[in-house]
Amino acid sequence: MTDNTAGGDVRLTGISKTYGSFTAVHPLDLTVPEGSFFALLGASGCGKTTTLRMIAGLEDPTTGSVFLGGRDVTGLPPYKRPVNTVFQSYALFPHLTIQENVAFGLRRRGIKSVQKQVDEMLELVQLGDKAGHRPHRLSGGQQQRVAVARALINHPQVLLLDEPLGALDLKLRRQMQRELKRIQTEVGITFVHVTHDQEEAMTMADEVAVMNGGRVEQLGAPADLYENPRTTFVANFLGTSNLIEAEVAGAADGEVVVIAADAVLRLPTARCATLPRTGGKLLVGVRPEKISLAHADDAGGMAEGRNRCTGKIADSGFIGASTQFVVDSPVCPELEVYVQNVERDPRLVPGAEVVLHWNPEHTFGLDAAMDIDAGTETVEETA
C-alpha cells in the first residue's frame, strides 16, 4: 500500500475562486494542522463548500495553491489526491452493494484482497450486517455511515466532510456528531468539516474558521471564538450577542470606560478588537447568559464594580432550564438575557422595571464601523 498517511496538514495559500463576475471565495490563506478536526462554518453561499471542493480537486482555484503535507497538489485531478470526501447527499453508488461501495477506492488503487479491510471498516461504523445490501435499503443515518466508511477506508491524508449531517433529523444528527468525533479520535486523520450549524461546529471541531461572503472572518478554537469575537458577524452568528453602541470616555489600567446612553460601562482593553480612542465609538458586546437580572426594587444591594444598566422587561420566554428575557433598555432596545431557572423571581414579568448587571471581564469591544446586524438574519437552512 502507498504511504498516504504521511503529513496530513492542509495549507491553502492565496486561494480564490470566481465564477464570471461573482467571487465565491476571496483570496484566503488557511492552515489546517495535521490530525485536527477543523470546521468551516458559515451560512449558505459563504464559500465554505467551494473551499472544500478546491481542497478535494473538484473545483479549480482561480488563484492560489493547495498544499497537502507540504506537497503542492493544485494541479492534480481529484483521483490523484490523497484526500477523500463525504458528500452532502452521500453519493453512494446505487448499483453497488454496501461492501462494493466501501471497497471502491481500494479497488481503484489496485488492491486485490480488500475483504478484511472492508469488514473492519464496516465494523467501525457498526454496519457489518448490511454488507450485502444496496444503499437504497438503508436509512439516512446508515447511508451516512457508509459514506464515511467508503472515504475512511482509503486512509486519506485528509477527510473532507461536506455538510454530511445536513439531511438527518436533529436527534440523529447529535448522535452522528459524537460518532464522527469518536471515529476521528480513533483514526487520527485530519478532518475538514463544512457546516452551517454553529452548534455542530463548536461541539465537534478543535478549530473553527467562520466564513462570510467568501472570506474567513475569524479563526480559532470554539470557546475563543465565542468569548472573543473579533467581528459583529462572528458575535451574532455564533450564539447571540448583545451589541451596545457606546462612546469611549477614557482608558486606564488596562480598562476602557465607555458611555452608552445613561450607563457607564467598563471592559478590559485586551478584549477590544480595535484600539479604543477617547471620544471614538465602540460597539460593546456581552453574551445573554453573562447578564444577571434584578428587579429595580433590589437595585440597592448590588455588588460594586459591575457593569449595570436599567431597563424594562419587554418579553419573556420560559424554555425549561432557563428563561429568556428581552429587555428594553436605554442602551439597547432589545437586550437579551438568559437566566437559569434556579430560583425564579415572580416579579420578573413583562413590564417590570429591572436592573441588568454583569462582570466587566465578560464584556468585549468591537469596531463600531461594522454592521451591527451582520450575521443575525441567518436562519438555519434545511438543505
Binding site: 478535494a56 480537486g57 473538484l58 485531478p77 481529484p78 483521483y79 490523484k80 484526500v83 477523500n84 470526501t85 458528500f87 447527499s89 453519493a91 453512494l92 453508488f93 446505487p94 448499483h95 471502491f104 477506492g105 481503484r108 488503487r109 467508503r150 472515504a151 482509503n154
Partner: protein, 309 residues
Amino acid sequence: MTVTEAPPGSPAPAGPLPRKQPVRRKLVPYWLLLPGILWLLVFFALPLVYQASTSVQTGSLEEGFEVTWHFRTYRDALGEYYPQFLRSVLYAGTATTLCLLLGYPLAYLIAFKAGRWRNLLLVLVIAPFFTSFLIRTLAWKTILADGGPVVDVLSTIGFLDITGRLGMTEGNRVLATPLAVVTGLTYNFLPFMILPLYTSLERIDPRLHEAAGDLYAKPSTVFRKVTFPLSMPGVVSGTLLTFIPASGDYVNAELLGSTGTRMVGNVIQSQFLRVLDYPTAAALSFILMAVVLIVVTVYIRRAGTEDLV
C-alpha cells in the same frame, strides 16, 4: 367536512353511505384500464388469433381458405426463407450496434455537457420525425447514389474496400448493398436509441461522478464502473426499441436494397400483398415474432437489468 356523531336512534344521514365510497374508489383503476384493455383486445389479441388461424389454413384465394391444422407451412416457410431471417437478425443487430455506438456519445453529451443547448439538441434529435419516414428513406437513395459525393469520398478513403471485404458492399456501389440497408435502418431508428439513453443518463446524479473521481477512479474508470452500469436501463430499452422494429422492417430493404438484401419483412409483405399466400405470410410473421422474443429474452437475461421493469 366535520364529522359529528349522530345521536342514537336518529335516521341515517341522506346521501351515499360512507362505506360505498371505498368500493367505488377501488374500481377506479379498472375503469382507467378499460380503454387500454379494449384497445389491446381489438387491435392486438384478435388479429393475433386471426393470424394464428390463418397460418394453419390451406386453400387458395379462389376456393377459399379453411383451417386444416397444416403445421407444415411453418416448416416450409422456415426452410425456404431462413436466409431472410438470418439477414433480418444480422442487419437489425448491426444497425442496433451502430445506433448504440453513435447514440451513446450523443446522449452523453446532451445529458452532461450540453448545458443550455440541451433542449435544442433534443429537438434536433427528433426533428427528422417531422418529415415522413418514406421521404427520409428515399432521400438516402439520393445521398448514396452511385457516383455521388458520399460514395466518392467513401471510395477515396478506402472505406468501401473494408466494407467490400466484409461483404457489405460490392465494388464502388453503396446503393442496393447490405451497407445501404443497414445505413437506412441505423438512420431511421437512431432517435429511438438516443432518447432512452438520454433519459437514463440524465437521471444519474453528477455527484456520483465526483464521488468516483474522489475515490481514485480516473475518468475512463468512472465511465466503466459508474456511468455505464447506471445507464444500462437506457441501453437495454434503447436496443430493444431499435432491434425489434428494425428486424421486422421492410421499407429500408425495399427502397435502399436489392433482391440480395431482402429481409423477412419484405417476404411477408410480398406473400401477403403480391403472392396472396396468406398462410405462409402468417406463419412467417409468427416465426419472426418467436425469433425476436428469443433474442430479446436471451439479451435481457445477459444484460441483467432488474431495474428495467
